[in-house]
């Protein structure tokens, strides 16, 4: 019975994530537009774009290899598996034992590599430039993420996401400076990983400022649809990850019934709404930074995460 519940929750979760991802992107765009005094496209617009792109045939460059054809599916599959492991409205999903934070970083790296390979496949200047920059940013983002994981691992004794969420929810950890610092670091990493302002501009096609979009210049049709969907999934994943770790309240416990699921869903939607609003405010208030400032931005996150761990060493030494 418990297993059946876990399977049902898992399937509902994946469906929810797939449905919410483009919507989330649309909501953030709409909120940003309203803040900038524009009316903005409907939040459903990304869905319509995907629908349109899926109908179109991809046009590949003459010298594109099999990499360009396979990579979008690989990246999407990796992101999908990653997103399936991050709890949303309920805990105790079927894939909870698989959902390890280091594995999550690995799956995101897999998607990133697939994207960078596509950027280099045709041999254009922008693609290579975007790939080199994307990989360089990850050099700073990854250790920051790992140090945040260190903070969680010290507090929860594990790197399993479901168990971390459970510990933070019931463990009576109180308000910890370390967690606040780790949250800042995670937010910074999330901004960088999702190519948002101030690291990258998701709305630009000005060549010199873009990183993520530069690698997709040669993609079209269903390939482009997959890439856009993948980017939306990644944004959803990060927001859900932040919500699951730092605001684990309201999620239905393992083995609960549909009523608890509905309550959990409402709580999750509320959390995601708040995070979207915060993202939109942040992006409207700040300007994109120079590419070579990004290491400083991410390096600050790295140092904050290190500080969080160091303070935690102190307090574990005290307790």
């Amino acid at each position: 019975m418990l297993l059946l519940g876990a399977v049902v929750v898992q399937l509902l979760h994946v469906a929810l994530m797939l449905a919410a991802a483009p919507l989330l992107v649309g909501v953030v765009r709409w909120l940003k537009a309203r803040m900038q005094g524009r009316r903005g496209a409907s939040p459903l617009q990304p869905w319509r774009d995907l629908e349109k792109l899926l109908r179109k045939r991809p046009v590949l460059a003459a010298n594109a290899s099999l990499v360009s054809e396979v990579a979008p599916y690989v990246a999407f599959a990796a992101s999908l598996v990653a997103v399936a492991c991050v709890p949303s409205f309920s805990r105790g999903m079927l894939l909870a034992p698989v959902g390890d934070l280091i594995l999550l970083a690995g799956l995101l790296a897999l998607a990133r590599m697939a994207l960078a390979l596509v950027g280099m496949d045709v041999g254009t200047a922008f693609g290579g430039l975007g790939a080199a920059r994307e990989m360089s940013f990850s050099v700073f983002a990854e250790p920051a993420l790992l140090l945040c994981v260190l903070t969680f691992a010290i507090l929860a004794g594990t790197t399993n996401l479901d168990l971390i969420a459970a510990t933070f929810r019931d463990g009576g950890l109180g308000l910890r400076v370390s967690l606040a610092l780790a949250a800042m670091a995670m937010l910074t990493v999330a901004v960088a990983e999702n190519a948002r302002i101030p690291v990258d501009n998701p709305a630009t096609h000005l060549e010199l400022t873009m990183v993520h979009e530069a690698m997709l210049l040669e993609s079209s049709g269903r390939h482009l649809a997959l890439w856009e969907y993948q980017a939306a999934l990644k944004l959803t994943l990060w927001l859900a990850l932040l919500a699951a770790i730092f605001v684990p309240f309201g999620a239905a416990p393992a083995g609960a019934g549909p009523l608890a699921w509905v309550l959990g869903l409402a709580a999750w939607l509320l959390k995601m709404g708040v995070l979207c609003l915060a993202l939109a405010v942040f992006e409207s208030a700040i300007a994109k930074m120079r590419v070579f400032r990004v290491p400083e931005f991410l390096g600050a996150a790295l140092l904050l995460a290190l500080l969080a761990a160091a303070l935690l060493f102190v307090s574990t030494g005290l307790a």
Partner: protein, 674 residues
């Protein structure tokens, strides 16, 4: 079993003799490499049998040895030896298979190859210090001969010279390390050494000497300067073996010395030097791999990085064992052993790929290759598997061992000392950064060699390598996938080796098909992850293709509307796609300037000047200026002073010998008296 091992080693010696005898016979290469292939498979089989079915208890005494030292040379096979012998067998088999298919090198490179294998096998199977050092030196000399095989070029000669210097340093440090151990034990065989673990200053000296000796051979920072020179100079199958097996043998010696022979009671801080050296090696190696423009140099730098990972894991074993954290020590030991094997296999694969590319497309330089995926699809597939493993992407082998290593590092705070906790946290950050850097380096390498447009006319005429060579690439590629999917089974096999490193009660950090850490709270299920990835790949493919049925069209490249190249540039303007230096530019500016002293010079012509502009990027390894240059100056000044001895009178010369004699006698008297 030990007799079989001895037989294999003797056969390798006979093969070397036969290679000398056969000389320039056209079948010499086939005989030697075929024999090495068979014997390597024998090594692997023996090791597997030993690990799976039980290891021989009593050592085998050989009728050779140090005169008067009281004991003959001993051969034995415990868990640690057997595990590394398995690694040697697998990499040796892949390298020999490649050598069978690849174009033959100069005949003088044939005899050292079996000797190289034999030296490593002796070093691994030795059960006393003398035999171990004998094997170690045989390995060093044979590999030096292989590096120097192509000595027509000046840079190869320089590489061989430097390689010999570091090999001599390694020997010069390891002999006194074993000497210090033996002085306390009164015997050279391992059981005697184990019974009398060193203490006090002697233990610290053993630690320092072992780290310097084995580190110089393994390529730990700051003693890594020979690696990026020696690997490109050697033939590809030899550099594969050097990188895949020889550096691991050096780490085996390190583990044997510090974790086994020095006894289980050494303090936890012993892990810190290893942790620091390993983390620095990982960072420097991975960063340098992003700057290099030659495939083999790049791979050699990536070897430095992976050696760093294994050393970090060994340091954690020492620390956890010193702090009485048995299960965590087993976790770290599992990470070290598994990563040694995984890296051995995928790095062998990548060096063989580099050899195949040099064979098929005529160059090792990233700036002369490009677009080879069209001409060499099988090589490209093998390279993709190897590089994905080296970039530690799930579900391949590199990720499994990296996962164990990171879990061990994340548990580093359980050693109660706050100083160690901060060191472990910093090491976590450095290892994660090195892993991301390795991913960037591998992407750069694969993208520049196999993707994009062709960069030189020779690469346009590239051809896929012959069947045997392709087979030799697909074998380690398949092994990489298998090792990635079944790491838990491999750890089960490694249980005897983990028991040697982490104490007899240690259990491998695996349960069923999953890797586990933190009392089973964290798990990594490679098969489940691979299954999920494949399932979602197939589902997404099916759904998307059902919705979008049209076939893919081909058209001219869009490239933001950039104009088409002129007709005299059939592959497009080579300057309009990023080259090796361009792909390295972000990391060079972000990290290279401060860590590697990287500089860029841009020569912009004035408007109207038709001469081309020029861009050059250089990076200087700090160990060159900081360590090697002062040493060279010291050598010169010592040599200059020694020259003066030649001007002494005959009485002076005699007096010198007399003084030495008296001094030695006095030392003897003092030692005997004390």
């Amino acid at each position: 079993m030990l007799t079989g091992l001895l037989l294999c080693i003797l056969l390798l010696g006979l093969l070397a003799l036969a290679a000398v005898g056969l000389g320039r016979h056209p079948l010499a290469g086939r005989v030697v490499h075929g024999g090495c292939l068979a014997i390597s498979l024998g090594f692997a089989g023996l090791a597997l049998a030993g690990l799976g079915l039980g290891l021989p208890e009593a050592p085998l005494a050989l009728p050779i040895g140090l005169p008067g030292a009281g004991a003959a040379s001993l051969l034995a096979l415990d868990g640690l030896s057997a595990w590394f012998l398995l690694l040697l067998g697998v990499t040796g088999a892949c390298a020999s298979l490649y050598a069978l298919g690849a174009p033959a090198g100069p005949p003088r490179s044939l005899p050292p190859f079996p000797l190289f294998l034999a030296g490593m096998a002796i070093c691994l199977a030795a059960a006393d210090a003398f035999t171990l050092l004998l094997g170690f030196e045989l390995m060093s000399l044979a590999s030096w001969a292989l590096v120097a095989a192509d000595h027509a070029e000046a840079e190869n000669r320089a590489a061989a010279r430097r390689y010999l210097m570091f090999a001599a340093l390694a020997g010069a440090c390891l002999v006194p390390a074993f000497g210090l151990l033996a002085a306390g034990a009164g015997g050279l065989d391992f059981t005697a050494l184990r019974a009398a673990p060193p203490e006090g200053w002697r233990a610290a000296a053993v630690l320092a000497l072992a780290l310097a000796g084995a580190g110089a051979k393994a390529g730990l920072v700051p003693l890594h300067a020979w690696l990026p020179l020696a690997h490109p100079a050697a033939p590809s199958h030899v550099s594969a073996l050097m990188s895949g097996a020889m550096t691991k043998v050096a780490l085996y010696v390190l583990a044997r010395l510090l974790l086994d022979l020095c006894g289980p009671l050494q303090p936890a801080w012993w892990g810190v030097p290893l942790l620091a050296a390993g983390a620095c090696s990982a960072l420097f190696g991975a960063l340098r791999a992003n700057m290099e423009g030659d495939t083999k140099v790049l791979l050699a730098c990536s070897t430095i990085e992976n050696i760093g990972f294994i050393t970090v894991a060994l340091g954690l074993v020492l620390a956890f064992r010193g702090a009485d954290l048995g299960p965590l020590a087993a976790l770290a030991a599992g990470a070290a052993l598994l990563h040694a094997l995984n890296h051995g296999v995928f790095k062998t694969l990548l060096f063989l790929v580099a050899g195949a590319v040099a064979h098929g497309a005529g160059s090792r330089k990233l700036d002369r290759l490009g677009g080879l995926i069209h001409a060499m699809p099988v090589t490209a597939l093998a390279a993709l598997v190897g590089m994905a493993a080296a970039a530690s992407l799930p579900p391949l082998s590199g990720f499994a061992s990296e996962w164990l290593l990171l879990e061990a590092l994340l548990a580093g705070w359980r050693v109660g000392d706050i100083g160690f906790q901060v060191v472990a946290a910093a090491a976590t950050a450095l290892v994660a950064m090195a892993a991301a850097l390795a991913a960037a380096a591998m992407l750069r390498c694969f993208g520049l060699v196999f993707l994009g447009r062709i960069r030189s006319p020779r690469a346009a005429g590239a051809e896929e390598v012959p069947r045997l060579e392709r087979l030799s690439l697909l074998l380690p590629a398949g092994l990489t996938v298998l090792l990635g999917l079944f790491p838990a089974a491999m750890l089960g096999l490694a249980a005897p080796a983990i028991a040697v490193l982490a104490g007899p009660a240690a259990l491998p950090p695996a349960r069923g098909l999953a890797l586990t850490a933190g009392e089973g709270a964290s798990t990594y299920l490679p098969l489940a992850v691979a299954g999920l990835l494949v399932a979602s790949l197939v589902t997404v493919w099916f759904l998307v293709r059902r919705r979008s049925t049209g076939a893919t069209l081909r058209g001219p490249v869009w490239n933001c509307g950039f104009i088409d190249p002129p007709p005299w540039l059939p592959f497009g303007d080579p300057l309009s796609q990023p080259g090796a230096a361009g792909m390295a530019q972000p990391l060079r500016r972000m990290l290279g300037g401060s860590l590697l002293g990287a500089t860029e010079t841009v020569l912009m012509r004035a408007p109207g000047d038709p001469r081309p502009g020029h861009y050059a990027a250089q990076a200087a390894d700090p160990s060159e200026a900081g360590l090697l240059a002062p040493l060279a100056r010291l050598r010169d000044s010592v040599a200059g002073r020694a020259e003066r001895l030649r001007e002494l009178t005959i009485r002076g010369c005699l007096g010198l010998s007399f003084g030495t004699l008296v001094g030695l006698l006095a030392l003897l008297a003092w030692l005997e008296g004390g």
